[in-house]
C-alpha cells in the first residue's frame, strides 16, 4: 500500500526531494513522498557500501521503478554507517513508509554545518509548488 502524501516538519529537505533526519553527529537519509510518487513502485535499490563517503549534492546510490531510474542525492556529506537492508530486500518499503521503514542510509556527518543550506518544511513546500 502506497503511503498518502505527507511531509514531516522535523526533517530537513534537499531540493532534489531527498530528506535528512539529523541526530547529533549522525543523520538518516531518505526520499520524500513526492519523489517516490513520481517514480512509482520501486523495484530496485542500489545502495553505497558501508564505509563509503558521500558528498552533499552528489549521488550516493540509485533507485529504480519499472520505467524510471533516479539518482539518490546526498543532502549532507558524511561516511556511510549503515544501509537499510529492508529496502534492499523490499524496495517498495519506500513507497509504503518513506519517512519511517523506508529510510535509505545512516551516515556520520563530516560537515554538520552544511545543514544550514537545507530547506525546512516551509521552504520545501515552495519547491513542491513549483514542481
Amino acid at each position: 500500500m502506497a503511503a498518502s502524501e505527507s511531509y514531516p516538519d522535523d526533517l530537513l529537505y534537499h531540493p532534489e526531494h531527498d530528506w535528512a533526519r539529523i541526530d547529533g553527529d549522525e543523520a538518516v537519509f531518505g526520499l520524500s513522498w513526492f519523489a517516490q510518487d513520481a517514480l512509482g513502485e520501486l523495484v530496485h535499490y542500489e545502495p553505497p557500501d558501508v564505509g563509503a563517503s558521500v558528498t552533499k549534492d552528489s549521488s550516493y546510490g540509485e533507485v529504480e521503478s519499472v520505467k524510471a531510474v533516479s539518482d539518490l542525492i546526498a543532502p549532507l556529506s558524511g561516511e556511510v554507517l549503515e544501509v537499510n537492508g529492508k529496502v534492499v530486500d523490499a524496495p517498495e518499503t519506500v513507497n509504503e513508509d518513506p519517512y519511517g521503514d523506508g529510510w535509505l542510509i545512516r551516515v556520520r556527518l563530516t560537515s554538520p554545518d552544511e545543514k544550514s543550506e537545507l530547506l525546512n518544511l516551509e521552504a520545501y513546500r515552495k519547491v513542491l509548488d513549483e514542481a
Binding site: 530496485h44 529504480e64 519499472v66 520505467k67 531510474v69
Partner: protein, 441 residues
C-alpha cells in the same frame, strides 16, 4: 505510381484539403529553401518485380558458391533445416518490431524467453540477453560489463581467439577506456600460466574454445587462471560444440559469449547473424541489450515482458549499460528453432559427426604426406594443415579444381604462410574430403 503505394489522386486531393494545404510541396514549407533538394534523385530507374528478380539473379550468379566448402574461421557451412525457413517466413515474426507492447507481442517475447533458456542450458549460465549483433560485438559488450563490474580497465584476450573478434574489441576499447593485452599461444593452445601472469590486475580474460585454430584449449585451467587473480573468465564458444564439450558455467566462467550463426543461419556473406551473451546472476543488471522475463497478467495468467529495462538506453540514456536498441531477434529465433529440432541428442550427434569427419580429414591428409600445423592438439571441427608452399597459392590451385580448401592463416598470423585452416561440418562427405586430400597433395 509504385505498387507499394495505395493513395489515388483523389485520395491525395481529399487529404490535402483536410490538412488545409494546396499541394504536396506545401507540406515541406518548413524546410528552408537553402537545404531543399532541387533536382530528381540520380539513381537507376524503378524496376518491376520481374525485372528486379532478373537483376538480382544476375548479381547472385556472379558469386561462386559451387566449390566444396572447407572454409570456416568463424562462419560455417552447417545445414539449416527447412522448418527454420518456414518459421522465419511467418509475417507475424518477420514484420514485427521490438516487443515494447507485450500484449501485441507474446509470440516474440515467449520465443526470446525460450531462446534465453536454451542459451543458459548450453552455456551453463544463469541469464542470457535476447542476443547481440554478432560474435565479435558481444565480446566488446562483455568487456564493457567486466569493466563496470570490476572497476578495472585491462582486458586480456588470447591470440588464439578469432582475429575478427580481437579487432572489434580493440576498436571499441579506447572509448570504453580499456587497455587490451594479448596472450600468445604455444603450438596452437594457450598456456594457463601465461594467462595468470597477464591477467594480474585485469577485469577479464577472453578466450575462445575451441580456439581459432580449431584446437581444444585447456579451458577449465584458463578459467581457473583468471579466477585466481580475480579477473572474469569469459569463454567464446561455438553452440554446436556444446553437445560434446563442457558448458563454460561448469568450469567457473563468469560469462559465455559467441557467434550463433552455426545454429540455424545461412552464411550469407557474413550476416545478419546473432551473437549470444550469457552470464552468472551476479552480472544480470549490467548486461547490455534486451532481456525478457516471465510474469502474470491482471487475471493471473502467465505472460512475458521486456524486463530490467532501466539498464537500457531509452531510460538511462548516457548512463545506460549499452546503446543497443535492437537485438537480432529473427536470427536468434532461427537458432532456437534449429536447437529445438536437434534436441540434446541431435546436438551431441552433430558435434560427434563434425569431430569424426574432421579426424577422417586429418588422417587422410597426413596419410597423403601433409603435415598438421599442431599435430599434438585435439580439435573439434577445424584444424590447420601445412600445404608445403604458400597457402594462398595452394588454395588457388584447389579452387581451380572445385574445392575451397580452407582459410590461409597467413592473413592473420605471422609465420603461418604455408598453413590452411580447414573446417569440416556435417554437410561434408568422405568423398568430398577425399577430393580435398587429392587437390592438396
Amino acid at each position: 505510381m509504385s505498387s507499394f503505394l495505395s493513395l489515388t489522386d483523389r485520395d491525395r486531393d481529399e487529404m490535402l484539403a483536410e490538412i488545409g494545404v494546396s499541394s504536396i510541396d506545401e507540406l515541406f514549407r518548413d524546410i528552408p529553401q537553402g537545404v531543399r533538394f532541387a533536382r530528381d534523385l540520380d539513381v537507376p530507374p524503378a524496376l518491376t518485380e520481374v525485372e528486379l528478380q532478373r537483376h538480382m539473379e544476375g548479381l547472385a550468379a556472379k558469386n561462386v558458391v559451387d566449390e566444396i566448402c572447407f572454409l570456416g574461421a568463424g562462419i560455417y557451412d552447417h545445414y539449416v533445416p527447412a522448418v527454420v525457413d518456414a518459421v522465419l517466413q511467418r509475417g507475424e515474426f518477420l514484420t514485427a518490431y521490438t516487443p515494447y507492447q507485450p500484449e501485441m507481442s507474446q509470440g516474440v517475447l515467449q520465443a526470446i524467453f525460450e531462446y534465453q533458456t536454451a542459451i543458459c542450458e548450453l552455456t551453463g549460465m544463469d541469464v542470457s540477453n535476447a542476443s547481440g549483433y554478432d560474435g565479435a560485438v558481444v565480446a566488446a559488450d562483455a568487456c564493457f560489463v567486466a569493466k563496470h563490474a570490476t572497476g578495472k580497465s585491462k582486458i586480456v584476450v588470447t591470440e588464439a581467439t578469432n582475429p575478427q573478434v580481437r579487432q572489434v574489441v580493440k576498436t571499441y576499447a579506447p572509448g570504453f577506456g580499456l587497455e587490451v593485452v594479448e596472450v600468445s599461444h604455444e603450438d596452437g593452445a594457450t598456456d594457463p600460466d601465461r594467462v595468470r601472469e597477464a591477467a594480474e590486475g585485469a577485469a577479464a580474460v577472453i578466450f575462445q574454445h575451441p580456439n581459432f585454430f580449431g584446437v581444444l584449449e585447456n579451458a577449465p585451467e584458463l578459467a581457473a587462471a583468471a579466477n585466481g587473480v580475480d579477473a572474469m573468465p569469459i569463454a567464446h564458444v561455438d553452440l554446436v560444440s556444446l553437445g560434446v564439450l563442457e558448458a563454460p558455467g561448469a568450469y567457473g566462467c563468469a560469462m559465455a559469449i559467441g557467434e550463433g550463426q552455426s545454429a540455424g543461419n545461412a552464411m550469407s556473406y557474413g550476416g545478419p547473424h546473432f551473437g549470444f551473451l550469457a552470464s552468472r546472476t551476479d552480472f544480470m543488471r549490467r548486461l547490455p541489450g534486451r532481456i525478457v522475463g516471465e510474469t502474470v497478467d491482471a487475471t493471473g495468467e502467465r505472460g512475458y515482458v521486456l524486463t530490467l529495462q532501466t539498464r537500457e538506453q531509452h531510460i538511462r540514456r548516457e548512463k545506460a549499460t549499452s546503446n543497443i536498441t535492437t537485438n537480432q531477434t529473427l536470427l536468434a529465433l532461427a537458432g532456437l528453432v534449429h536447437l529445438s529440432l536437434l534436441g540434446p541428442q541431435g546436438l551431441r550427434e552433430l558435434g560427434e559427426t563434425c569431430m569424426a569427419l574432421t579426424q577422417y580429414a586429418k588422417d587422410k591428409l597426413t596419410g597423403a604426406g601433409l603435415e598438421l600445423l599442431f599435430p599434438e592438439r585435439a580439435t573439434f571441427k577445424e584444424f590447420a594443415v601445412r600445404t608445403g608452399r604458400n597457402a594462398r597459392e595452394a588454395l588457388k590451385d584447389a579452387r581451380a579444381q572445385g574445392v575451397y580448401a580452407g582459410y590461409p592463416l597467413g592473413r592473420d598470423y605471422a609465420g603461418m604462410d604455408d598453413a590452411l585452416l580447414v573446417a569440416v561440418t556435417e554437410k561434408r562427405t568422405t568423398d568430398e574430403i577425399d577430393r580435398l586430400v587429392e587437390v592438396l597433395s
